[in-house]
Symmetry: C2
Subunit: 334 residues, 2 copies
């Protein structure tokens, strides 16, 4: 990897296998980015435990599932550095240093934190680790010297928090840290859930997983939310808010045909089954090769783990270099 390539930091909390929402929102993009950037893909196991400590029984399997998903969709461990957060102590060390540069009040005002506190229903019982999450993430980003952080619009405040921390550090100690930039997708790449809810999500139970079998995929497509008033094939139907059309817009390359189908659906005479079958074919076309690669890779979990440990070793090397600069700046060199 050339030194001239810009560095990207991305990743996921391993709370279970990844779904089509991840694929559209970030995974596909990573396959492109790894060709032109030095891409670090973080499997954030420490952060996965932060929101639900009881999850630890499944954590190792979840890490493996996520790594399988990565490799299956085409993130290439020879082009991207895929690694496990809890094996990089430098992230924890840097987080501890950064905690001195942020006030509790500032963290409590962070819009992403506020939203997530509401979502999780913590009330006033916010775990300290949860409130500290933006600081932990600032360490994730900066310890790998990232230039770019691909995030959804809702995560932009986390990158802004990182920039604030970097500026404080550079001012108080020495200018050794890089300011990262958020990289927000041009189009709103958030995928709706099967049920029509705004977001596909494991916890909402409305997701198509990258590892779903052909049958499961078919069943899920057939269960999709369309237009509740479209009772008979002959009735006119509504395209807006119809999940099948939303997916066809995203996944079906034959845009003209999709537009014709929409017109037909609107004036009546086009049944849900027809459009669902079409969507099923389109999605099977995308997911079958992914599923097959996934099944192939899943036969040798030891090889996947070895790949992760190799990526982690490279990541630690980079983290150690940054930490040497940080310690020098903080005069913590003994």
């Amino acid at each position: 990897m050339s030194d001239k390539k810009k560095i990207v930091l991305t990743g996921d909390r391993p709370t279970g296998p990844l779904h089509l929402g991840h694929y559209v929102g970030s995974l596909k993009n990573r396959v492109e980015l790894q060709r032109t950037h030095d891409q670090f893909v973080l499997i954030a196991d420490v952060q996965a435990l932060a929101s639900s400590p009881g999850q630890h029984e499944k954590i190792k399997d979840n890490v493996l599932q996520v790594a399988l998903d990565y490799c299956a969709i085409g993130i290439d461990p020879t082009q991207s550095t895929i690694f496990i957060q809890s094996l990089i102590p430098e992230i924890a060390e840097l987080t501890m240093f950064y905690l001195n540069l942020v006030t509790v009040a500032r963290l409590q005002r962070n819009p992403t934190v506020k939203d997530e506190v509401k979502q999780k229903g913590f009330g006033t019982n916010i775990p300290a680790g949860f409130l500290m999450h933006p600081v932990h993430q600032a360490a994730d980003i900066t310890v790998f010297d990232a230039d770019l952080v691909p995030v959804g619009q809702d995560q932009v405040p986390l990158v802004e928090q990182t920039v604030e921390i970097v500026r404080s550090f550079n001012r108080i100690f020495a200018p050794v840290l890089k300011e990262p930039q958020a990289m927000v997708p041009a189009q709103g790449a958030r995928l709706q859930g099967l049920d029509g809810k705004a977001k596909m999500s494991k916890s909402l139970g409305n997701a198509i997983y990258l590892g779903d079998s052909a049958d499961e995929l078919l069943r899920k497509v057939m269960s999709m939310y369309t237009d509740p008033n479209h009772a008979h094939v002959s009735d006119p139907g509504t395209v807006e808010g119809n999940v099948v059309f939303a997916y066809l817009d995203i996944f079906d390359a034959r845009k003209d045909e999709v537009e014709e189908l929409k017109a037909h659906y609107r004036r009546g005479g086009l049944g849900d089954t027809v459009i669902k079958k079409r969507l099923n074919e389109v999605l099977q076309g995308i997911l079958t090769p992914i599923r097959q690669r996934r099944e192939q890779l899943a036969k040798d979990p030891a090889a996947i783990m070895a790949m992760l440990l190799k990526g982690t070793e490279r990541a630690r090397g980079v983290a150690a270099t940054t930490m040497a600069r940080v310690r020098q700046a903080m005069k913590l060199v003994y």
Copy 2:
């Protein structure tokens, strides 16, 4: 060191050289404890930076000064493990795990934290690292498997917080962590300042340092607060609140003579200069050998640093053993 010895965790934030208050309150005790316990003495450089990040320019020298003080008063690096906090990444890692087991509200209610927030005048701008301090300290204590933590009464809530975290961890994951106990000195061993204030402290400028020269010591004793109404030698004087007598009570082994002096002072006819000269002699007797050892050791700072690095190496070994148990319990073994 025998495996049967109980483990003690103690230490200081290196914010400057240590003073007679530290000597009375904890250092002397450590010289005793190291004979009967496996004693870990933490130089908490990360925590020293937490309250005042601008201090980093002096941090390395402060660490060295504290280590000189330790060795000068008789903490023996062959009996105690003296080490530097920032060189133990396991402490940061464990802190990150513990942060998930404590709520922000609980930390805000911690009496020690509340007192210190008031003392430092943070107002609503409490650095996150400061609020997290009890969690960081819980990691300090438990990563070395400490049985006992010598603390002043005001620090007891910090040990209680540690016990809470240990219980949560052991319940959620597996019972691999030891519950520590606070070890509070029987007598109130807090030393007044030269000016009569309740506490000898660097920031109050009312301290006698272990490295003070004989002249400085004499000057400081002569400046001590006595009884402002004792204008003439012949006047009756007050013993209560009189710093010279408070010190004589603590440091002068000839208790009968001190009682006679008190009686004489009360009825009048005993000048401040006489009791101050006596106290000076007593303190010179204690501090001269300490100062001489300190000067001798200070000639070879490289040897002191080598001692610290050796202690740190042993401490890291113990920390790594604990972390292996912690990771096993959390299923973070890859």
